[in-house]
């Protein structure tokens, strides 16, 4: 425990400082102009500086570490990987496979992210969603995605 463990308020403040500075520096790349005739860079730079200042405020007023760490969320790598992986699979298979494999893999993978789902349950859920995808979205709403394709069109 102690200070080595990231204090969430403190980390959040630092993160905001970084984002704010990044935005301010990014804004400086565009024309700043004057108050009467602002260029495109003025507003983002100003907002970025403000954000960095608020970040300093958050980091300074951070509650003492360790007080609320009991509510720390346990990491859930399997669930996270399956949800993220499922959505990435939807995009990749959407380009190289079509709507049917994309839908199936998204629902199948993300369903497996929940430990209580068996492979069989995930399979049937995915199959059911494929039916909905084809009937409602492809046939009914004319979604502009081919059902099955072999090339990356």
């Amino acid at each position: 425990m102690g200070f080595l463990k990231c204090n969430r308020d403190y980390c959040g403040g630092i993160l905001m400082i970084l984002v704010g500075l990044g935005a301010a520096l990014g804004g400086l790349r565009y024309k700043i102009g004057t108050l009467a005739g602002m260029g495109p860079g003025f507003f983002p730079t100003a907002v970025g500086v403000l954000l960095a200042l608020v970040g300093v405020g958050i980091a300074l007023t951070a509650a003492p570490s360790g007080r609320d760490d009991s509510k720390r969320l346990p990491s859930e790598w399997r669930g996270w990987a399956c949800i993220v992986g499922g959505m990435v699979a939807f995009v990749v298979l959407g380009v190289y496979g079509g709507l049917v494999p994309a839908t199936f893999s998204l629902v199948f993978m993300s369903a497996l992210g929940d430990k209580r789902n068996t492979i069989r349950q995930a399979f049937w859920l995915a199959a059911a969603m494929v039916v909905i995808a084809v009937v409602v979205f492809w046939w009914g709403l004319q979604l502009q995605l081919p059902l099955l394709t072999w090339s990356g069109s």
């Binding site: 993160l15 954000l51 970040g55 399997r78 399956c82 959505m87």
Partner: protein, 502 residues
């Protein structure tokens, strides 16, 4: 004036009763009612998921549906809070305090019945306020210059980020992040593309659908996977039990009226969220009560007043959103974003230029609220059953709808990646205990804040004094300063108390 209003209202009813519009309004309240009961899916995620669908719809039914989801969810939230002690929407957390004890004492039906009556009364009151207040506000709003609008938006953003619960500094930080997200894309004044990070797709800016579905749906799933264990204790409610007795009605009357007025006052202030409204009306009832010790153990007043305030606030919230283009909270921001995507700019000209939308909405509120009261009676049992649909089936299916919805907005798969990216960012921010709803408020208002800021200073030739020389603008700047001052005082007091404890 009254004549004119009644004619307009009559016109509104004729719009709202068109079969097509009526159907979508019905779909909206039904979906809203359902997600209001379902834990883990709030009105924000429901509106975000259905947003792509509205792009292909006519603006009137689209608005009726989205608005229906919003107030439908508030009715649904009361059911979850009273019968199951589940505050599905943070605004209903106070309803749980006294609603659930009533259910345990076998009076859940009565609590629901009275809450519904109070809700209907409060919503009707809010609608009447909207009918008479909006045209007046519009007359004033036409005199607003860019500096006035900037100051009002500033106050709205400040109130929204500091009063929505949680750390005020973190709320402000999130609003600023939202504004920065709104900057990405092509600058309307000069045509320069900004912050596209090298992606040509971002030249059109970040899409509202991607940011809202990512922040409010995907991040929710990321945080809840394998953790959400919702158990519904199926408390059965029969219609007969929902009819309150005369004594109970009498007991509920004044709390209902006070709750309604609190909600109306807060609805008129842009930026204040629904949660603070319900908390204040609950606190007010407890303070006024002769027997404050009953609160927390099933006091009827503690259910009626917060529910009434939530409903009148919801309706009155539409006034600043539609008439000034300044949304009160994240849901309003999303609804306003949907309007803008339809090519309709909210603001004082909306009532005259798009009378069908404004008066149609007003009339549909009444129809929708009446529908909800009627619907809720037979459907409560269905919703309680629905609570038992396991989360493990719900979220993979919802992810599919999100992916297809994101794709369909521009027929482009990179939208799905954008949604996912915001989901991950949102989950990270939530676990750092940042409130994420202000991001949306900042995102929707950001471009307008920038435009008015630039225009105001252009007119004044760079003189910053323009914000305090005009009386309207100066008033709102003063209120903003007061808000900041209050937060500093509150923060110092907290720090002193912490020191005293050590």
């Amino acid at each position: 004036m009254i004549d004119q209003t009644l004619t307009n209202l009559w016109y509104g009813f004729s719009v709202a009763f068109e079969p097509h519009n009526l159907m979508w309004s019905f779909v909206g309240v039904l979906v809203g009612n359902m997600v209001g009961v379902l834990p883990g899916l709030g009105p924000l995620s429901a509106i975000a998921i259905l947003l792509p669908l509205t792009f292909v719809m006519h603006p009137v039914p689209a608005m009726l549906m989205l608005a229906g989801i919003f107030y439908g969810a508030i009715y649904g939230g009361a059911i979850g809070a009273i019968l199951l002690n589940l505050p599905c929407h943070p605004a209903h957390a106070v309803t749980c305090l006294d609603g659930y004890p009533m259910t345990k004492a076998g009076k859940g039906g009565t609590a629901l019945g009275i809450a519904m009556l109070a809700s209907f009364f409060a919503a009707s009151f809010g609608i009447v306020v909207m009918i008479f207040f909006s045209p007046l506000l519009v007359k004033v709003a036409f005199m607003f210059g860019p500096s006035d609008i900037f100051s009002i938006m500033l106050m709205g953003l400040l109130a929204g980020s500091t009063m929505s619960g949680g750390s005020p500094l973190k709320g402000i930080a999130m609003t600023l992040v939202g504004i920065l997200c709104g900057v990405a894309g092509t600058d309307v004044n000069t045509g320069t593309t900004r912050f596209t990070l090298g992606f040509p797709e971002l030249a059109d800016g970040i899409s509202l659908v991607a940011i809202s579905m990512g922040l409010f749906a995907v991040s929710d799933f990321l945080l809840n996977v394998n953790k959400a264990t919702f158990v519904g204790s199926g408390a059965k409610v029969r219609f007969r039990e929902m009819r309150p007795s005369k004594a109970e009605l009498k007991q509920a009357f004044w709390p209902m009226l006070r709750g309604t007025l609190v909600g109306t006052a807060f609805g008129a202030l842009p930026g204040t969220g629904p949660t603070i409204t319900t908390f204040i009306s609950y606190a007010l009832e407890r303070k006024l009560s002769k027997t404050p010790e009953r609160f927390g153990h099933g006091a009827l007043e503690g259910v009626v007043a917060p529910e009434a305030s939530a409903h009148s606030k919801t309706q009155v919230d539409f006034i600043p959103t539609l008439c000034l283009g300044i949304p009160g909270d994240a849901v309003m921001a999303l609804i306003m974003g949907a309007l803008i995507i339809q090519g309709i700019a909210p603001g004082p000209q909306l009532i005259t230029e798009h009378a069908d939308i404004f008066w149609g909405l007003v009339a549909s509120f009444w129809i929708g609220n009446a529908l909800l009261v009627l619907l809720n009676i037979p459907l409560i049992g269905v919703w309680v059953k629905l609570l038992q649909v396991p989360y493990r089936y719900l979220f993979p299916s919802a992810l599919f709808f999100i992916a297809v919805g994101a794709f369909s907005t521009q027929n482009a798969l990179y939208q799905v990646i954008e949604t996912l990216a915001f989901g991950i960012v949102g989950a990270g921010l939530i676990s750092l205990r940042f409130p994420i709803t202000p991001i949306l408020l900042g995102f929707v208002l950001g471009p307008m804040v920038e435009t008015h800021f630039r225009r105001a200073l252009q007119f004044s030739h760079g003189d910053m004094g323009v914000f305090i020389h005009r009386p309207i603008s100066a008033t709102f700047i003063a209120i903003s300063a007061l808000l900041i001052l209050l937060q500093i005082v509150a923060g110092l007091r907290r720090a002193l108390r912490r020191k005293a404890l050590q």
